[in-house]
């Protein structure tokens, strides 16, 4: 078994029009910048993939990464909890112009919907958002005297995730709080595509320290010294 792919471009080569793509990261922390930019490169060159549904906690910042994906026009819908950032202009302008659809999801519900998708649980109940406008249209039920809102699982065709160490079997570790949505999205996507800062031989990662077991991962591509989105933005970077 060898899940290694040579380049980010090859790793994202089969993501097609209308796909649902989960993208890891909380703001810039954990954002898989090189995988996202490889996808943008293909769109700019070929016009595909277009009309993507993207799942991310945020809506991009500045003009790199997810913001750049939105800016070039390849995202039709965004599912997120907090579409604001230090520089949210790209998403804000598209949204106010009616050029991108937004599904706003409370952050914990977003995480749990992805977890449920990965665990084969089609729906669950939570008190979160009960009695608010985000519960409109959702079934409710009382359990032990308390009201709850039904939420559905969230699955994707692909996940783009940034990890720290990875082996050819897809076992992963993460870097600090960059872990955030990565382990969940790997479970909920048909194909989890992971960029790692360093590839190591199987057995190098202590089994006690494996955060994402390889069964959840389809492809691993090494990106040494990956870009940190926050630093790109502080430098005023744009992409492409």
């Amino acid at each position: 078994m060898d899940k290694m792919i040579a380049t980010p471009a090859e790793a994202v080569a089969d993501i097609g029009d209308n796909a649902t793509v989960m993208i890891g990261g909380f703001g810039g922390s954990g954002a898989p910048v090189e995988l996202v930019h490889a996808l943008i490169d293909r769109f700019v060159k070929t016009g595909t993939p277009r009309n993507l549904t993207v799942v991310n906690n945020n809506a991009g910042n500045g003009h790199v990464g997810l913001a750049a994906m939105i800016e070039v026009g390849m995202v039709g819908k965004l599912i997120c909890s907090f579409p604001r950032s230090a520089d949210p202009r790209v998403f804000t302008q598209k949204y106010l112009a009616g050029e991108i659809e937004l599904e706003l999801v409370p952050q914990g519900t977003l995480a749990e919907r992805i977890r449920a998708g990965g665990a084969g649980i089609p729906a669950f109940y939570t008190p979160t958002c009960y009695g608010t406008e985000l519960a409109n249209g959702k079934p409710t039920a009382a359990f032990d005297g308390r009201p709850y809102v039904q939420e559905r699982w969230l699955k994707a065709d692909f996940a783009l995730v940034k990890a720290q160490l990875g082996d050819r079997l897809g076992n992963l570790t993460y870097n600090k709080a960059a872990r955030n949505f990565g382990p969940l999205m790997c479970t909920a996507a048909r194909h989890a595509i992971v960029q790692v800062s360093k590839v190591v031989p199987p057995g190098t990662i202590d089994p006690e320290h494996v955060i994402t077991p390889g069964i959840f991962v389809s492809r691993v591509v090494q990106v040494q010294n990956p870009a940190q989105e926050e630093l790109l933005n502080r430098a005023g970077a744009t992409y492409p």
């Binding site: 909380f26 909890s81 907090f82 977003l110 995480a111 992805i114 608010t132 709080a177």
Partner: protein, 227 residues
């Protein structure tokens, strides 16, 4: 009608007052922005563990400029540091801590709070881009949900109301409100006044409040140091 600045607490003083009620050994989540100030005024001798939604327990203050690690941030996306005994975890574990009732206290900001404990703090209901983050999760997860806020809006409108008029974050979730003028508990669908600035009369305070302030037991003076 507004309370003049010399007759109300600063944000730092409101945060200080809220910090006094956080017990030794508590697990605490502080909302983005103003509530983050509460950590600065944690009384000496108490060990409090702060949780941030993006996946850290027991994080500390900002690092010096130039020493930031942008994989080590809090929910407000500010760089933080770690304390001995800190832990990382993914987002579903993070919100299991929230939604599973494992946090002792959450302290949040507010646009409006109602006497039945309803909170509005995520949307002013106008046009623009809506954003909710973890607020709707926090209000139903922590064992105690407290609000820190100015007593009235910038234009002098009451923020403590019989019913919220802005979109709700959660229903019946707030148990205590620390304002620039008073400390108010929410009990049995009523605002119960616990402390007020000694410089404000009860009548004046009531006139700045959009629902009845109930007196149930003694009302203490709200005494806060200069900060």
């Amino acid at each position: 009608m507004t309370a003049s600045d010399d007759l109300k607490l600063s944000n730092a003083q409101i945060a200080w007052r809220a910090a006094q009620d956080i017990a030794d050994g508590a697990y605490v989540n502080l909302g983005i922005g103003f509530p983050e100030m509460v950590a600065r005024y944690q009384p000496a001798g108490r060990e409090v563990i702060y949780h941030t939604e993006n996946g850290i327990l027991d994080f500390g203050q900002e690092p010096p400029a130039g020493e930031e690690d942008w994989d080590l941030i809090n929910a407000g996306k500010k760089a933080v540091t770690l304390k001995p005994g800190s832990a990382f975890f993914h987002h579903a574990d993070s919100f299991a801590m929230v939604r599973g009732g494992h946090l002792d206290v959450a302290i949040l900001g507010a646009y409006q709070v109602a006497q039945n404990g309803d909170l509005a703090n995520w949307s002013v209901g106008a046009k623009g881009v809506p954003a909710v983050g973890g607020a709707m999760d926090l209000v139903h997860g922590a064992r105690r949900v407290a609000v820190i806020t100015e007593h009235v809006t910038k234009s002098g409108e009451p923020k403590l109301l019989e019913r919220c008029t802005l979109p709700l974050t959660g229903v019946g979730c707030v148990t205590r409100v620390y304002t620039s003028l008073a400390v108010v508990d929410i009990e049995g669908g009523r605002f119960v006044l616990r402390e007020k600035l000694p410089t404000i009369t009860l009548e004046k305070l009531q006139s700045l409040t959009g629902a009845e302030l109930v007196l149930a037991g003694p009302v203490a003076d709200l005494i806060v140091p200069e900060l």
